[in-house]
């Protein structure tokens, strides 16, 4: 008899599983439909009830409970997986709860009712804390929910939360990649975690998937940064205190610090937006900075900027706000209520200091401004204003001066042109055309506030040189006692090359222009002679002239001397196409290395060379020195440009670098010269 009942029970489980799909389809059924299911299942419930009662009377209470509980849980688990799946764009928690009401609770209600509600539920639910403070108000089809049924509901919901949470945590990486489309999934996860409190599971799992999938040599710095920003935004929803974000962000930050282009990428992301992102991630249009600004504006009014917020969601969030910090919170970091998670702050955190960020931005800004044709700097002003909001006014003062230089230049430039008698002054001939000041626009910079500008020797054509002289003279007259010193290698030249059969227009650097100008008088040059004529070192010339070769304007061939090349102007159109295509790659590689402004790394390297010489100098004379003595000595005597302004930690890591280069060694906290 026992066996028979057991079989019957098993049959029921299988039957339930078979019907799973059917029930999923009927999830949103209304009350009357539910009633019919109830009736349909009534026969089964009675059967099971009989089995349970009989087993219980035999003393197998816990075994029977386990049996139907595990059946219900496995069903619920399958339901959660089916509903949640890999779609992160819909909220599923509500539907799961509805289903719990509609299916398993109905069954349990019937079962408990059949068993006469004498159900001993203490054993199963005493360990569960009740996440819902009050008894749910409505049980469809059940007028007076019993104590046992409520406990069952809590138990099932907790299980659902946990299952969904595990599912989402396992896919958190993808969810964050999809952010903000995956916002609903994040909302679900947030609610689940509030009940289960298993945040540490999230942290561990997410960190390991980050290590495995993101923080690898193959991932581009832009992608990592985008994921970092999405992570910040997503985790900010799950945990407004930022405690877990701190834990998750740390490995990303550590990794990014090891990459050389991190600062550059961050600054590009901040100021240029995804346009500067070669992999095309992120939404088109605005820079991150614009977005941050929008966020902060929105946050002032609503604190959350997502339009998904319905009224009750907002109310929910408001109600949530008063909660205390999680136990994991670092008490030294202040209360969460006042703390806003600042994406920019977290980006700066990667770099280390605001100054470094500003420095890099300054270099990029200088590059941009110097290559401008007009004086249109509206977007730069906008970016700078945004930076000012986030970084403070004082730190970007130099950048402001740079922009002001541009504005002043525009005025001065117009002034100078207006005050000059038009054609006569520089009536020199250039390729048969008059050269007047009309074609010249100058950017006048206060070089003290700009990054170091790379000097490059260059002889520009005499007529243009004359023009520059006139301009400078005029400037001096207007702005006495100030004088204009030209940086002849900077700026851009628009020129047109006229051949017998075609005209070609180019926008090039002055160096390129000076090179091609030489071919006006003489169609063939050896690289040595050309270098002498243009005043450019031979190796630089050979590099730069590739531009014209790639455009099919010039052709290069080996000269009499092994390191002397002959460049000849190409007049025949037919050979052009061929050369053009083959040299395109060469050009790209060349342009990469051409920058008019010394990069931050170069500046830093220059500073460090000075410090290195000082350190070697003092160690030569004093034998051995401790870290702080070196630090103090540098502070005292390394005062000329660039004066020593590093922290003790920076010095220490620099010295460690010198030790790895085998220039120094360290014993007992003292540094020595390596013999």
């Amino acid at each position: 008899m026992d066996e028979d009942y057991e079989d019957g029970h098993r049959f029921h489980i299988d039957d339930q599983k078979n019907k799973r799909n059917l029930e999923i389809g009927e999830m949103d059924v209304d009350g009357s439909n539910r009633e019919t299911i109830f009736l349909k299942n009534n026969y089964l419930v009675k059967n099971i009830g009989a089995v349970v009662r009989d087993l219980r009377s035999l003393g197998f209470t816990s075994m029977t409970e386990d049996a139907y509980a595990s059946a219900i849980f496995s069903l619920l688990k399958a339901k959660v997986h089916n509903l949640a799946g890999d779609d992160y764009r819909a909220l599923v928690l509500g539907s799961i709860k509805d289903w719990i009401q509609a299916v398993p609770l109905q069954f349990l209600h019937a079962l408990l009712a059949y068993l006469g509600d004498s159900f001993d539920c203490d054993s199963m639910s005493s360990g569960l804390k009740s996440p819902l403070a009050s008894r749910p108000s409505c049980y469809p089809g059940i007028d007076f929910p019993s104590e046992g049924l409520v406990r069952w509901q809590l138990r099932l919901e907790y299980f659902a939360y946990e299952t969904l949470q595990d599912l989402r945590i396992g896919k958190l990486f993808e969810i964050i990649v999809d952010y903000p489309d995956s916002y609903p999934a994040i909302q679900d996860l947030k609610q689940c975690l509030e009940y289960t409190g298993q945040h540490s599971k999230l942290v561990d799992s997410f960190i390991s998937s980050l290590r495995y999938r993101l923080l690898t040599a193959g991932a581009s710095t832009y992608d990592i940064l985008h994921q970092y920003v999405s992570t910040i935004k997503a985790l900010r929803i799950i945990d407004p205190t930022g405690v877990f974000l701190e834990a998750v962000g740390e490995p990303i930050r550590d990794y990014l610090r090891g990459r050389k282009d991190t600062i550059k990428c961050i600054v590009t992301m901040l100021t240029d937006g995804p346009g500067g992102n070669p992999s095309g991630l992120g939404n088109a249009g605005d820079s991150l900075l614009e977005e941050l600004n929008r966020d902060s504006e929105n946050q002032e009014s609503t604190d959350y900027d997502d339009d998904i917020n319905s009224d009750d969601k907002q109310a929910w969030i408001n109600a949530e706000r008063w909660e205390p910090d999680p136990v994991e919170a670092d008490p030294s970091k202040g209360s969460r209520n006042r703390r806003k998670i600042d994406v920019l702050g977290m980006m700066v955190n990667i770099i280390g200091s605001k100054d470094q960020l500003v420095n890099e931005y300054r270099v990029m800004l200088a590059e941009k401004l110097l290559n401008k044709f007009d004086y249109d700097i509206d977007s730069e002003i906008r970016t700078l204003e945004l930076l000012k909001i986030h970084l403070g006014e004082s730190s970007i003062q130099k950048c402001e001066i740079m922009l002001n230089d541009l504005i002043d230049s525009k005025r001065t430039n117009a002034n100078i042109k207006a005050s000059l008698p038009q054609p006569s002054l520089s009536g020199s001939k250039l390729g048969g055309t008059d050269v007047s000041l009309d074609i010249l626009d100058a950017t006048i910079i206060s070089s003290n506030f700009w990054p170091t500008i790379q000097a490059e020797s260059l002889n520009i054509p005499a007529s243009v040189d004359q023009l520059l002289c006139d301009y400078a003279k005029r400037f001096h007259e207007i702005k006495t006692p100030r004088k204009l010193l030209w940086k002849k290698n900077l700026g851009t030249v628009k020129l047109e090359l006229q051949f017998e059969d075609r005209n070609m227009q180019f926008t090039v650097t002055p160096v390129h222009a000076a090179i091609i100008m030489q071919f006006q008088e003489q169609t063939s040059w050896t690289s040595k002679n050309l270098a002498a004529a243009t005043g450019i070192p031979v190796d630089t010339l050979n590099r730069r002239i590739n531009f014209w070769i790639s455009k099919g304007i010039l052709a290069g061939s080996a000269g009499s001397d092994s390191d002397d090349h002959v460049f000849t102007i190409v007049d025949d159109m037919n050979t052009n196409g061929l050369i053009h295509e083959s040299s395109e790659g060469l050009l790209a590689a060349d342009e990469e290395g051409e920058r008019s402004v010394a990069s931050v790394e170069e500046q830093l390297r220059k500073e460090m060379t000075v410090y290195e010489k000082f350190i070697i100098g003092m160690l030569t004379n004093f034998g051995s020195m401790a870290l702080d003595r070196i630090h103090n000595t540098l502070k005292m005597f390394c005062v000329a440009e660039p004066s020593y302004d590093k922290s003790l930690q920076q010095l220490q890591s620099f010295l460690t670098g010198l030790i790895t280069e085998e220039k120094l060694e360290m014993r007992d906290g003292l540094y020595f010269l390596k013999k």
Partner: protein, 184 residues
């Protein structure tokens, strides 16, 4: 004003034969007058000399201000190749007067240097440190001069007659240099 200062604290004759104890006090004295009226320009000059010396990277010569006083420097000279002093490292002390560079710094060896123009107390007989001094010289030229003096002594006006007499026999001289050498 600097003139007077000089008279007061610089009463030791600028001869290489100056007795050691006096020389020691002399090196200390500029400390007191470091804040003299002309201190700023001297300071600037010494700072730029330091910078130049650090950046030039001449092999075998080096110097650096000692402690927090830029008027007192420690110097290091390595004997040039192909001389009897090859590979020997000598320590110097340089002390600058407040009216530097109009007056030469006082330079002496800190460890024993067996050399015709260096006495047992380390005083050096070198014309540019005395009457041939010019403000165009700087720390670097002084160190270079001393470095070349090691290989090319002036045997006509020796401070160390024994060394001057031994100079003709380079092998013996080298042995003597190594025997008397004590690292500072």
């Amino acid at each position: 004003m600097p003139r007077e200062n000089q008279d007061v604290q610089d009463n030791i004759p600028n001869t290489p034969a100056a007795p050691a104890p006096t020389a020691t006090t002399a090196t200390k004295k500029p400390l007191l007058v470091a804040k003299g009226p002309d201190g700023q320009s001297v300071l600037k000059r010494l700072q730029s000399e330091l910078m130049a010396l650090m950046m030039c990277g001449d092999p075998g010569i080096s110097a650096f201000p000692e402690g927090d006083n830029i008027f007192c420097w420690k110097g290091t000279i390595t004997g040039s190749k192909d001389t009897v002093f090859e590979g020997m490292v000598y320590k110097l002390s340089l002390s600058f007067p407040t009216d530097y560079p109009f007056k030469p710094p006082k330079v002496k060896f800190e460890n024993v240097c067996f050399h015709p123009n260096v006495d047992l107390n380390g005083a050096i007989c070198l014309d540019i440190l005395q009457d041939k001094w010019s403000s165009a010289y700087d720390v670097r030229t002084i160190l270079l001069s001393i470095q070349s003096l090691l290989g090319e002594p002036n045997n006509d006006s020796p401070l160390n007659t024994q060394a001057a007499a031994l100079w003709v026999n380079q092998e013996e001289f080298r042995k003597m240099v190594q025997k008397t050498y004590k690292p500072a």
